[in-house]
């Protein structure tokens, strides 16, 4: 049953997409589901959902107790294929640990994916956000320091696409709320080479980020330190955090394979 959404039908493997959708339906709120629940949430017929689930079980990606299905750690291999293919894989984490040792704040690395930043490495200290953050976590790019840095590093045409699609949904009263203000913030980030976001993502949360570049000066990822307003002033972030971050980013860049 071809759908128009596929566009070029002849090179589209619908069964793969459906199977991936089955994996994606599992979540913190749906850690395990019956066959009918999976079918409903993944938008499949019960028979199709059953075939996908049984296939995932056979291949070790999922398991069942006879009634409920849940994912197995083998699914992490898929994400690990991506993580281990990152050029800064292997070198970033020790350098990030040095940052944490120096500043006693959480340090993270992320990349841009559509409207979001996605965490690819993290050395946590004090919990700084209400929600737990982990490799694979996503946050909106427009109101995060790493997002501002990644957006500032986009070629103009890609940035234009981002602006076309972004929805400026406030997370706090301080969240940037107009396109003019967002563009100005990104311009400022591009000019000064770093971004500082103060309580736009969550009240109390402050973070400062810098770009990690490859040898062609393209922005590959963003590196940040995040803290709580009660622990670090904006001044301390600029005078102590920023130099450490710039140094760490430079060290990561210098360690990249050619």
């Amino acid at each position: 049953m071809r759908s128009e959404e596929a566009g070029e039908d002849k090179d589209y493997v619908q069964s793969l997409v459906r199977g991936l959708e089955v994996i994606r339906t599992f979540s913190q709120y749906k850690p395990r589901m019956t066959l009918s629940e999976v079918a409903q949430h993944a938008g499949l017929t019960r028979a199709a959902a059953r075939r996908f689930l049984l296939t995932l079980v056979r291949e070790g990606y999922a398991e069942t107790d006879g009634k409920y299905f849940s994912l197995r750690p083998k699914v992490l291999d898929l994400g690990f294929s991506y993580l281990s293919s990152l050029p800064m894989w292997e070198v970033a984490q020790p350098i990030m640990r040095d940052v944490v040792n120096a500043l006693h704040e959480s340090c993270s690395l992320s990349v841009l994916d559509g409207q979001d930043i996605v965490y690819v490495a993290r050395v946590p200290t004090e919990r700084v956000m209400t929600i737990g953050l982990s490799i694979g976590s996503r946050l909106p790019a427009f109101c995060s320091s790493m997002g501002r840095v990644l957006l500032a590093g986009l070629p103009p045409t890609e940035l234009a696409v981002f602006f076309d699609r972004v929805k400026l949904e406030r997370r706090t009263e301080r969240t940037v709320a107009t396109m003019v203000a967002l563009k100005d913030a990104i311009d400022t980030t591009r000019r000064q080479g770093w971004a500082l976001v103060d309580q736009e993502l969550e009240m109390g949360l402050r973070s400062i980020a810098v770009p990690v570049r490859n040898r062609r000066s393209e922005v590959l990822a963003a590196l940040n330190v995040s803290t709580h307003e009660g622990r670090s002033s904006l001044e301390v972030m600029k005078t102590r955090f920023l130099p450490e971050l710039l140094d760490a980013a430079q060290r990561i860049s210098a360690s990249l394979p050619q």
Copy 2:
């Protein structure tokens, strides 16, 4: 073209399995590949590999520059479905950070998958292993402290399956090398409720682990602290690290949803 390996052919979705295999072929050593390379490494015809790659690109899991294909961060969503469905998701990391603050050593959480442990959370400090470790990384269960703990918590029939398949491949001269010695180590672990592994996985590396249980006392995961032989004696690991770990594991267990 049905293959005998599928067994129950009628409930097996071969296209899903092939597509997942395409994702899995990317790695640190093959961060990007041409179409023909993917076909070769994934064991597919060039036409099939092409359809899968184009489908992954369409859905945002991969990208291409017109010649080379590479994975995109959206693949991390798949692993994140699994991570976020873990019962200790959200509560483990802050507690692990407390452990790191108290002991100044790396703390990790892992689950068992076949012959391996798979890292599901990590608060790193000093780099303790030669290879970088991250969420999704795998290590052999038989010669790691977390592996010993997870194996000790297996029901007898599952442990028997593990013994049937395990290959005791030495990683150092100290690696346990006989089934008798391995079984004794696991029995000891079960009896004392923790495992200490000293330079079996890698020279210089020491780690101590305890089980994280649910309310029915089933072992869900293992929690460890790892250090270097030069930094911590075996005595310090037992007298300082172990109490902190037991306390942390208990706090994680107490925080699990019902």
